[in-house]
Point group: C2
Amino acid sequence: MSIIVHKYGGTSMGSVERIKNVARRVAKWHAAGHQIVVVPSAMSGETNRLLGLARELSPMPDGRELDMIAATGEQASSGLLALALQAEGLKARSYAGWQVPIHTDSAYTKARIKSIDDARIRADLDAGCVVVVTGFQGVDDAGHITTLGRGGSDTSAVAVAAALKADECLIFTDVDGVYTTDPRVEPDARRLTVISFEEMLEMASLGSKVLQIRSVEFAGKYRVPTRVLSSLTDPNMPLDEEMKSGTLVTFEEDEKMEAAVVSGIAFSRDEAKITLLGVPDKPGVAYAILGKVADANIDVDMIVQNQSVSGTTDFSFTVNRTEFARTLELLNSTIVPAVGAREVSSDDKVAKVSIVGIGMRSHAGVASLMFRTLAEEGINIHMISTSEIKTSVVISDKYMELAVRALHKAFGLETAPVTKV
Amino acid sequence: MSIIVHKYGGTSMGSVERIKNVARRVAKWHAAGHQIVVVPSAMSGETNRLLGLARELSPMPDGRELDMIAATGEQASSGLLALALQAEGLKARSYAGWQVPIHTDSAYTKARIKSIDDARIRADLDAGCVVVVTGFQGVDDAGHITTLGRGGSDTSAVAVAAALKADECLIFTDVDGVYTTDPRVEPDARRLTVISFEEMLEMASLGSKVLQIRSVEFAGKYRVPTRVLSSLTDPNMPLDEEMKSGTLVTFEEDEKMEAAVVSGIAFSRDEAKITLLGVPDKPGVAYAILGKVADANIDVDMIVQNQSVSGTTDFSFTVNRTEFARTLELLNSTIVPAVGAREVSSDDKVAKVSIVGIGMRSHAGVASLMFRTLAEEGINIHMISTSEIKTSVVISDKYMELAVRALHKAFGLETAPVTKV
C-alpha cells in the first residue's frame, strides 16, 4: 500500500462534471489499495473573480484580507470534491490549510510553507478516508490565513507529499506532461517521459508554466517523486497505464535519465532590456544601479557587464516587460544622475530563449552549437547568460519562434534519445 | 464610547457598490466615537450558488462538507468588507468563525453557539480597529467548521453583542423594521417603534422573516438591546436619526411599551393539517402518533385533541406543507394500523393566522374578538391554539389575506396607540 498525493488544477475542477471525473479517478486509485490525499485548486475563474471584487473595493488591497478572500476558493472546491468522493462511495473529508495545519510564514499573498503537521491526515488515511487538503493556503503563527501565490497548489501538494513521505505526487493538469518545448511553437515538440529535478527547476524558472517553481524546489529538497500528467484522459483508464503517463521529475539521474545533452527549450516574450552606456567603472557601481531597482520591488533577470574600456563600462539587464516603463523612469530620475552614466539605451521588443540540459555539464560545445544555429538563421544575440545546465540568450522578439524551432532541430529534440537503462 | 454590533444581510452586501455603502455607514458610526463590530452575511445568491453545486454532486450531501463549502461565502464577504473599510481610511480586520473563535456544537448545518471568546475582538477594538466577524459560522470542539442554519448571521451578531456586552446590536436589513403585519397583504400595516422580546419571539416563530428565531432567543437570554433597521437608507443620514429608526426589541416592557393589546398579526401559508378520526382514547396514544412523526424528523406545529366521545377521539396536527406527503405516507403505512384509528382526513390548503401581543396577558376578550371578526367575514376556523401572548387559528388558505386585513382593522393596528411613557 502506497501513499499517493494527487493535485488537480482549476481547469480539472472547473465544473460539476469535471469534479465528478476527478472523484472517479481518485476512486480508481483508492480501489487499487492506495492511500490517497487530494489537493485541489479553486474552480477555474474563481480566484480571479474574488480578487477582481477585492480590487474594485481597494486599489491597494491589504494582503491579509486578500488571503482571507482568496483562500475561500480552495475551501469550497475541497468541500465539493469531498462530496463527490462520498457520492462515489468513498469515505472522504476535506481540510482547510489551517485545519491540517499547514504552517507558513506571514508573507501574505506569497507565503512560504514552514511545516506541515501530518497527524490529522494520517489518522484519516489509516481510517480508510480519502483526505482532501486545500491547495494554495496555510496559516501563520498568529492564526491568520495565508496564501502561497499563483500556482501555489502545486507547492501545497508537493509539501504534503513530503510531509507524508508519499510514494509519488501526481500533478494532474491540462497538459499531458513536460515537452521539449511549447508544441504551439514547434509542432515536433516531444513529451519527455523523465526530466531531472535540476532541469525542471530551470524550465520552471525560465517560464515553462507546467509547474510552479517553488513546488519544484520543494520536490528537490525533500526528493518527492513528482509526475506531471493529464486530467483530461478517461478517468477509468487502466491504472498501470496511467502510472506511466506524463513526465516524471526524478532525482536518480545516472540510472534513469535520457542520454540527451539538451532536454528542452524554454522561452519568454515578457522581456525588456535596458543598457546604461558609459558608466564609470568603479567599485559599488552595480549595487548603485541594481540596489535602487530592487528597492522599487522590480525583479531583475539577466545581468551583463562588459569589460571596461578607458575607465567606463556598459551595464545591461533585463526586467519583465510590465516593469519596463517604471524601471526606465527610475533610471532617468535617480540612478543615471547618481552613477554618472552617459546614456540609457533600451528595448522592450526582446525575448529570451534558453536551452536546458544536465548533459551540458559533461558535454563541451553545447553553447557554441546554440550560437552557430542562431547565426545561421541570421539572428543577432543581444545578451548571453549561462548556468551549469542552461544557456540563455536575449534576441529580438520577432525571431523568437524561428530560434526555438531551429534550436529544437539542431539538438535533435524531435526524436527520443536512446536511454541509458 | 459604546460598543455597537452591526449586522448586514446578503442583500446589503450584494454588490461592490453596496459593500462600499456598508463601509460608509460603519465609518460614520466609528467617527462618532463608537467601537464597532460588523457581522456580514454572504453576498446575496452566493450561499445558494454553493449549495446548488453541492446538491449537484451529492443527493444527500454530508453536513460537515456542506458547512465547509457554505462557510466560504461569509469569509469572502467579510474580507471584502474589511478592504472597503480600509479604503474608507479605517483600520479593519476580518475574522472567520474559527479565528474568533465562535465555539458551537457539532450539529452541522444547524449548529448552536456554545461560547464566544472575545479576547481577540476586544484587543483589536482597543487598538482602534473595526472588527469584521463572519456571520453564520463557528467551529466545533474537534476543529471542524460548522454553520448555524438559514438566517444564522442574525444569531452570530446577537451572540457577539452578548459576548462583548455591547450597548446595542443593529440588524441592518432590506426592511425598515418590524410591522404590525406584512405590508404586502395589508397596506395599512404600520412599523412598530418598539416590540417586546416575547412578542418578537412569537412573531419569529410564526413565520415573520425579519429575525431568525434563535437570534431572538439569544437576545432574550442575554438581554441584548436589538434594533432592526434599514440598510437601504442614505449611509450618511444623521446618526441621531438613524439611532431612532427601525424597531427596537426591548426587555423593559413597563416603561417603554406601547399600550396596544395586540401588537401584530403573523401568518403562514406553508401549512398542512392532518386529522386521525376515531382514535381509541387511551393513555399513550398521543406519543404513539407523534413519537413516530418526530422520529422521522418531521416538525409538528399545532396539536389539537378533542374531547373523547364513546371511547374514541379525533387527533389533529399541522406540519409544514413540504412534509405533507411524507407524513401521510408514514401515517397510513405505520401509525394508523398501530394505534387503530378509523380514518385519516387531511388538508394541505390551510394557512395559520396569529395575533400576538403581551397585552393579552391582562386583557380578557382578545381571542373572542378574533373569533367574532373571522365569523363576521364568514371564515371557518379549523383549529385553534393559544399561548400566553398569542392566539393562532388554522383556516382555509384562500381566506388568509382577508383574515389578516380584517383582524388588522378589528384590533386598530393601523394607528399607533398612545404610549405609556
